[in-house]
Amino acid sequence: MTAGPDRPDATAGLAALRRTLPADTERAAHAYAIEDLEPRIAFAPDDRAEVAVLLRTAAEHALTVVPQASRTALALGAPLEAYDVALDLRGLHRTMEYVPDDLTVTVEAGKPLRDLQQELAEHGQYLSVDPPPDDQVSVGGLLATARGGAWRGHLPSARDLVLGIEVAQPSGALVKSGGRVVKNVTGYDLHRLHTGALGAFGVILDATFKVAPLPVATRTLAAAATSISEAASVARRAWDASLSTRAITILAPEPAGHVGLPSAPTVLVELAGSEAAVDRSTRDLAAFASWSDGPAQGWAYLRRLHGDQAGTVLRIGAPPSSIATMLEAARAAGALAWGHLAAGCVIAYADGMEAHAITALRQAAERARGYLQVEAAPVPIRRQVAPGGPGDPALVAALRDQFDPSRILNRGRWPEEGRP
């Protein structure tokens, strides 16, 4: 579907956008289709003032805008309801300031995480995040989706690492919050509001992060178990031993097979730190299970599967005490499932899953005092099943009334009651 029969006339708005933005920033719209929608026009500005002008002009003409960069998480949230303008942010990819001794870096939103990690690695540092599907995720997308992988729960996540941001609001205003210092309580933390909001309140232009020294040594170890609950108790002991762990993940037999291990319930541990700390941790682990060198590329495989937009991917929040139960439940629903113990999170991947099965898993998660977020699923399923709570709906709506009163940004991603 492109322009539907009842799609309102936007000629004036499109002309206004073409007038206000440099001609060389326009792109072919068809390259920006999202699911069954194609935008009417696309721009790839390389300057933040152009982003602001684009938003203001779009708002004036009631055109809806979908900001994007690496296009790795477009199936998050409910399906879009309207899509007039594609805003490609890949042109904003500069590193604005990096002071290794301060462990802080300020980068523009369109920069791929991979490029940032490369720059940081030259100084022996990194941003301690492992979002799905891999490091092609843009910095802005990392924040807007607030997704993480196996490191979460062991290392601070994107939400914990962001020190400040600048956003462009639909009004055209450029707004900063936070700063470039590692500890700061000056004003409201708008950067936290934007983190995980899927672009509900503005377009992230740049962000300052706290970075960390790269670990000198890393090691992946695997231990097979006879049941998921046994694997969970091995994982638990590993967690309680307070070792230099960066990940403790419980794999159901199916994903274990996929990463090249025997098809059995398995605990996959990543150790990271100094050589001495990693060696000591390896010895301590041996006290309660038999470990073999695990496939280091297993982590990348799990990340990719988690980030696969073509499948059905569920992120099930479950407190550590109910990880094993939720893992079993996801497996029983036909999913490839693995669970990150410390983060309290099970990832379930399936080629497809019925809406009622997703709803049943959500109810189970909520009984365990967790949650379920649909991270990818075909459009019809995402129309039937809410993607996952946006917080208190009345407050979210009140905030959107302030920042995006005509709902031009990502319209539909957060369904609102009583609004078309």
């Binding site: 002071v99 001794d101 301060d102 462990l103 607030a146 979460r152 729960g153 601070p156 996540s157 939400r159 609001q169 205003a173 707004v175 900063k176 919050s177 700063g179 210092v181 590692v182 500890k183 700061n184 309580v185 000056t186 004003g187 409201y188 708008l190 936290r192 509001l193 983190t195 995980g196 909001a197 020294p213 230099s244 730190g273 100094s274 001495a276 700390a277 060696d279 000591r280 941790s281 301590d284 929040g317 479950a318 407190p319 550590p320 983060a343 309290g344 999170c345 005092r369 967790g370 949650y371 977020q373 996952g388 709570g389 946006p390 917080g391 208190d392 407050l395 009140a398 905030l399 302030q402």
Partner: protein, 483 residues
């Protein structure tokens, strides 16, 4: 007052809470006119609700009577956040002081807002767990106050501030609605209203319950005391350590002035002739700790340390920390009054910023003692003065303002952990543009809290608020607080 007289306000509140939990006589109110800082203002009524429903009832009654609501914990805040500048109902949360749950399996605690920070640490300790945020006021301050101010402490360097440890909140909003934000499971998807509420200084709602993350105590801990000839050398040692790839859990600076005040009183073992000292802590698995400690030691020597002592025994470590914790209290005993400042700069800017702080203090004719979170670049100059001297208070405030300017000019901010409150509203324009501030006002408007909910705090302007400059400081240390 729009509707009803003060008499009916008090009666309505008494009806909701019982007369015993509502103070309204002038002699009872006077205790609640200040926090640990500054400006004073009398509330019309002070209430002590015991449940979330009672908090909501108080907020509803204040709304009906069109008077302000100001939340308050222990009143140890250092920016005037709990001062009821425009009167109204002061909601004191100290009766809601139950630890509802400590779950070692999920590493979670659920507490009421009036729980004292240290009480939670003590409840978690037998399970091998701890609540990491440790403001120096932890013997008296409440978790609700910590959340409202996003408080930090010596261990923020590795563990982060309060916001990194809050999983979920129950909040009474300015319209008296009760909402739950966040989840027992970390990093819940969706709009992070939890993260917005933390640090909002009681202007967006009253926290009535908090679900907090507990962390496991580390198997090995080592505390180092590095002695330097100057603050500059010690500051360089901070950057040098980080350059070598080690981030200690704490890096606390004590300058010569503070060492000379603290040591005779506490006998922590700090050399009286030191130009500055860094108290450094590393933790983790034993082998890692030994290695990290060696790196720290080498970095300190490279930066010119005269001596680096190492303590592994709990008793030795506690003694070293005792001096740090008692430092601010000791200043109180050493000077008639002092003004405790809170600013933050990129840590590589510490040497030049500290030089400017000392120069400004000298030029203004005041002694300035520094004890602060050097690892985070979070300064706490303490300006000592005698309020009896002519214009002393005014001059101290001018000096404080000049020091804040230095922080901002160095790329820093006007508060690292104590909050903007009443004290620093007028400095907000130094760091934020009108558009930035408009966005913050928009948040307040969305919460419906603009003029009534803890008015005249955080943001400049506001109906019926003074300019925001402090007129008077009376550094008033809370009984039993150690810093």
């Amino acid at each position: 007052m729009a509707t009803g007289s003060p008499g009916t306000l008090v009666r309505d509140l008494q009806g909701a809470l019982g007369a015993a939990h509502v103070l309204h006589l002038p002699e009872d109110l006077i205790v609640y006119e200040y926090d640990a800082t500054i400006e004073r203002a009398l509330p019309d009524v002070v209430v002590f609700p015991a449940t979330t429903a009672e908090v909501a009832a108080c907020v509803r009654i204040a709304l009906d009577h069109d008077v302000p609501v100001v939340p308050r914990g222990s009143g140890t805040g250092l920016s005037g956040g709990a001062v009821p500048v425009r009167g109204g109902v002061l909601v004191v949360l100290t009766r809601m002081n139950r630890i509802l749950e400590v779950d070692a399996t999920d590493r979670v605690a659920v507490v009421q807002p009036g729980v004292i920070n240290l009480a939670l640490q003590e409840a978690a300790a037998p399970l091998g767990l701890t609540y990491a945020p440790d403001p120096s006021s932890q013997r008296v301050c409440t978790i609700g106050g910590n959340i409202a101010n996003n408080s930090g402490g010596p261990h923020t360097l590795a563990h982060g501030s309060t916001v990194n440890h809050v999983l979920a909140l129950e909040v009474v909003l300015p319209d008296a609605r009760v909402v739950r934000l966040g989840s027992r499971v970390p990093d819940a998807p969706g709009v992070d209203l939890r993260g917005l509420l933390v640090g909002s200084e009681g202007t967006l709602g009253i926290v009535t319950e908090a679900t907090l993350r507990l962390v496991r105590q580390q198997p090995a801990v080592r505390t180092l005391l590095a002695i330097f000839e100057s603050v500059e050398d010690a500051s360089n040692a901070v950057s040098e350590t980080i350059r070598r790839g080690v981030i200690p859990v704490a890096m606390e600076m004590l300058d010569q002035e503070i060492i000379r005040i603290v040591e005779p009183r506490i006998r922590a073992g700090y050399p009286m002739d030191a130009g500055a000292a860094l108290l450094i802590e590393v933790e983790g698995v034993a082998e890692g700790v030994a290695l990290d400690a060696a790196v720290v030691e080498a970095a300190c020597h490279a930066a010119g340390a005269r001596e680096v002592r190492s303590a592994e025994e709990a008793s030795e470590r506690e003694r070293l920390w005792e001096g740090r914790k008692a430092a601010i209290g000791a200043i109180g005993a050493a000077a008639p009054a002092f003004y405790l400042l809170d600013g933050v700069v990129p840590r590589t800017k510490l040497p030049e910023v500290m030089a400017q702080v000392m120069e400004l203090s000298r030029a203004a004719g005041f002694r300035c003692a520094n004890v602060f979170h050097a690892g985070d670049g979070n300064l706490h100059p303490n300006i000592m003065f005698d309020p009896a001297e002519p214009r002393a208070t005014e001059r101290v405030l001018e000096l404080g303002e000049a020091i804040m300017r230095v922080c901002v000019d160095a790329g820093g901010a006007i508060t690292g952990e104590h909050g903007v409150g009443l004290e620093k509203r007028s400095y907000m324009e130094w760091v934020f543009t009108p558009a930035d501030l408009a966005a913050q006002h928009a948040v307040r408007d969305a919460f419906g809290s603009t003029d009534r909910f803890n008015p005249c705090k955080v943001l400049p302007g506001g109906h019926g608020c003074a300019s925001g400059h402090m007129k008077e400081i009376s550094p008033h240390l809370v009984e039993g607080a150690y810093v």
